[in-house]
């Protein structure tokens, strides 16, 4: 199937998320849409699958042109999308999710029979009667794929499909995609910000930057040329050379001591775990969805209670204590969903400063100018509301609200959805904090990023801490195997 996007324009207020973008998806190919976060990739794909209506341009599918599509029309044309977070119904059964395929709702008998047929064809194992909530992210992806294959999708769009799954699961997914286009008729559109992935899988690539199409490449894909078009020539050098990996810290006395602690979140209870973290360490916490790594971070932050065992920070016993005690002990947490858990959308930036530093609230304006603007390069007006901040500026504001004397900084996906400049600033800042004697513990869904920046990696699998690795003793494949339980910790080569 031949699909062409011509001169697509999509505006959100004054911002042009897509500005005159033209892309052709040729039959039998895997086409990569590359670009850093905020480049307009997802917007373009949502236009293509009918979720968003474009402000200009047209979509040509198999020879007929459309000014816009809706989800139903896109579905009947054979366009289907696998979103980054699986768009399914977790409490419903697997077969029920499958039955709500997009066309007429299937009966139970039809749904189970057709699901079994697709699974047999693709090599998936999906028992039809359990709730989807119990599946892993990779299995939920497979269920979505099974649903789309059953509808005979001709153009399959995948939005960052490798976040949250292991390298081995990624390989399996790529094999499925290659088989999908093997008939020379069907098409895959792969949205990603990772060049390596595109090089591994794609036949052709379109690069977006700030809403515009800045380059098109065909295999063999050359790294420097694509990087230059993704980031502009100067930033490309910075993005290409990863910063030196911090050395493991082994001498200092432990700052955080966890002994047989049981951390219980609202939904998840972790197995008892013990670990010690020293000042100056930057620790990455690895795990796939459901592994328990986020719960571990929240437990260290005092948000998820430690119901048994010990947790002490700088000598203060904190197990079972309220969150305010953790703050007193200079433990701070940066949430992954910054607006939902960290900011007050209707309050001004100045009010945020007043709330974070109540004793100095009369000097809020000075603090804002010196700290938020001067040190953290926040570019917004002090009286503007937090709801208007971009993702990068949200994180800058949150970082500027964390006091300087913080001993333990916990960060859940600190760079999610940010542009390259913001990401670089955040890692620089973490290294600065660590050099100043604080410990930084972070989780990133992006395993490559995690391994680039962590001096030590704690691996979680199935709600338990399964490995504690010093930098230099592991590689991505080994951590990936540990994350998905393919090998136990004892089998890791030294």
């Amino acid at each position: 199937m031949d699909v062409v996007l011509s001169h697509i324009v999509k505006r959100f207020g004054p911002l042009a998320a897509n500005d005159d973008v033209s892309v052709r998806f040729a039959p039998g190919t895997i086409h990569g849409i590359l670009g850093e976060n905020g480049a307009g990739k997802s917007t373009l794909m949502r236009v293509l699958c009918g979720v968003l209506a474009p402000d200009g341009g047209e979509i040509t599918v198999g020879g007929s042109a459309y000014a816009r599509l809706n989800p139903e029309a896109a579905g009947s044309l054979g366009i289907g999308m696998l979103s980054q977070d699986p768009l399914d119904f977790p409490p419903l059964c697997v077969w029920e999710n499958f039955a709500l395929g997009g066309g007429p709702v299937l009966s139970r008998g039809q749904a189970t029979a057709r699901l079994a047929a697709v699974c047999a064809r693709m090599g998936f194992v999906l028992p039809p009667d359990g709730p989807v909530a119990r599946l892993t992210v990779a299995e939920r992806q497979q269920l979505e794929l099974a649903r789309l294959f059953d509808r005979d999708v001709r153009l399959l769009i995948l939005d960052e499909p490798t976040t949250g799954i292991s390298p081995a699961q990624k390989e399996a997914l790529f094999a499925v995609l290659r088989a999908f286009v093997a008939d020379g008729e069907r098409v895959v559109a792969l949205v990603t910000h990772k060049l390596a992935e595109a090089r591994e899988l794609c036949d052709t690539v379109s690069v977006l930057r700030q809403g515009r199409l800045v380059g098109s490449f065909a295999a063999p894909l050359s790294t420097p040329a694509i990087l230059a078009s993704m980031f502009g020539s100067q930033a490309a050098c910075a993005a290409a050379t990863p910063p030196p990996r911090p050395d493991p810290v082994t001498e200092a006395e432990a700052l955080v001591v966890v002994e047989n602690a049981v951390i219980a979140d609202e939904k998840v209870v972790l197995e008892p775990l013990s670990v010690a973290i020293r000042p100056g360490e930057i620790v990455g916490v690895a795990g796939i969805s459901g592994g328990g790594q986020e719960v571990f971070l929240r437990g260290l932050a005092g948000i998820a209670p430690v119901v048994a065992g010990r947790l002490s920070v700088a000598g203060r016993e904190l197990a079972g204590r309220p969150l305010t005690r953790f703050l007193d002990a200079a433990v701070h947490y940066l949430p992954a969903s910054r607006m939902e858990e960290g900011l007050f959308p209707g309050l001004s930036l100045l009010d945020h400063v007043r709330l974070a530093f109540p004793e100095q609230r009369d000097a809020a304006r000075t603090i804002f100018t010196e700290r938020c603007v001067g040190r953290f390069r926040l570019t917004n007006q002090p009286d503007s509301r937090a709801a208007r901040l971009s993702g990068g500026n949200q994180q800058r504001l949150l970082l500027s609200l964390v006091p300087d004397d913080t001993r333990l900084l916990l960060a859940d996906n600190p760079t999610r959805g940010l542009d390259a400049a913001s990401i670089a600033q955040i890692w620089d800042h973490f290294r600065e904090r660590a050099a100043g004697g604080a410990a930084v513990v972070f989780f990133s869904e992006d395993l490559d990023e995690l391994l680039d920046h962590a001096g030590r990696v704690l691996v979680f699998y199935s709600r338990a801490l399964v490995a504690d690795l010093r930098s230099g003793t592991y590689d991505a494949a080994c951590v990936g195997d540990l994350m998905t339980g393919r090998v136990a910790a004892g089998e890791v080569r030294p």
């Binding site: 948000i303 969150l323 305010t324 703050l327 947490y333 949430p335 939902e340 858990e341 960290g342 900011l343 007050f344 959308p345 209707g346 309050l347 001004s348 009010d351 007043r354 709330l355 974070a356 109540p358 609230r361 509301r385 609200l401």
Partner: protein, 350 residues
């Protein structure tokens, strides 16, 4: 249409639509529409007496409206205002019986103390709702509503049992208090100037607390994002309880003024729907303290005016509530049809 004009346009649209719908409802009930409105206006504004009655209805409405502004500022649906008024009046009468009737305290002190007791009564009743919300995960809509019924039961039980009139229990209330235990009246009418002064003062206090203090800023933080407030160490549960306590104390004060200043006894359903009417007034003013007094005054006129309906036209006095409901609904519609631009970031705008 400019952005500045839109509040006026909205108000005009909703008022016109509300009048039209009300007239249709009145006509549907088989009553003369224009005469009905005339009776209500006359009853609420037509004479000096009517004005005094309206002002005496305005006092509890203002107090409850201020109470609701505090709790809405913390994102709490304080539906239990009715019960808090009732418990305020129960505590007030209890104090007057213990300290005033017995001669334990001189009359003025007993009256002042009874108002303080009323505030404590409302505060405790509201805290019960607040604790159920913050520590028991029971939403304050359910606890507040349930406690309204319970408070009504308690007052009935006292009226018909413990505090019944000598010889006979009566639904007309407890034995009236002696005149020296009344709040000073205005112009010989059952309208207490002290109550009005207290209500205005309470209103000013709430405006100051919400707009000028750190507590007010913390409350709006809790309303905006309770998770973020918790993470910043703002202790949202305590802030919510404090907001409930302040709101409850104001509602309780309203109950105290109803006993000491208006009825001079405890009667069944003493809260007289003021709690619910105040919620409507706050919704009509969209949580803005600036427009609230006007909304309260308007609703006080409606409430007092409708009392004449059963006698004059043999209609049910609940027409006041009907008009209030229609007005708030049409305003909701107008607000969605002509959405406003940016609203204030703190204190008010809900």
């Amino acid at each position: 249409m400019t952005r500045r004009a839109s509040p006026l346009v909205r108000a005009g649209f909703s008022l016109a639509l509300a009048v039209a719908v009300t007239l249709a409802i009145v006509a549907a009930a088989g009553a003369p529409p224009i005469d009905t409105l005339a009776v209500m206006a006359e009853g609420g504004l037509g004479s000096g007496q009517a004005w005094l009655r309206t002002l005496s209805a305005l006092v509890p409405l203002l107090l409850c409206g201020a109470a609701l502004c505090v709790t809405f500022a913390a994102n709490l649906w304080n539906i239990g205002v009715e019960g808090q008024i009732t418990m305020g009046s129960v505590f007030c009468l209890w104090f007057l019986r213990v300290a005033g009737l017995s001669g334990l305290l001189p009359a003025p002190l007993a009256v002042a103390g009874s108002l303080a007791a009323a505030m404590v009564g409302g505060l405790l009743w509201a805290l019960l709702s607040g604790v159920l919300r913050t520590y028991g995960r029971v939403h304050e809509i359910f606890s507040g509503l349930g406690l309204n019924f319970v408070a009504m039961g308690v007052s009935l039980w006292l009226i018909l049992g413990f505090w019944k009139r000598p010889g006979m229990a009566s639904m007309s209330g407890t034995e009236p208090l002696p005149a020296e235990l009344w709040l000073p009246a205005l112009g010989g009418r059952p309208m207490s100037l002290v109550g009005l002064v207290l209500a205005v003062a309470a209103f000013g206090l709430v405006a100051f607390v919400l707009n000028r203090t750190f507590f007010g800023l913390a409350l709006s933080a809790v309303r905006q994002n309770v998770v973020a407030a918790e993470r910043l160490g703002l202790r949202p549960k305590r802030r919510m309880l404090a907001a409930m306590a302040l709101g409850g104390a104001l509602a309780g004060l309203a109950g105290g003024i109803l006993v000491a200043g208006l009825y001079h006894r405890l009667i069944p359903s003493i809260s007289g729907n003021y709690g619910y009417t105040a919620i409507m007034a706050v919704l009509l003013a969209s949580g803005s303290l600036r427009f609230l007094p006007l909304a309260c005054l308007f609703f006080a006129v409606l409430t007092v005016g409708s009392i004449q309906l059963p006698l004059a036209l043999s209609l049910d006095s609940s027409l006041a509530g009907v008009v209030q409901g229609v007005l708030v609904l049409t305003l909701f519609a107008a607000r969605r049809l002509w959405p406003a631009g940016t609203t204030g970031s703190r204190g008010g705008g809900a």
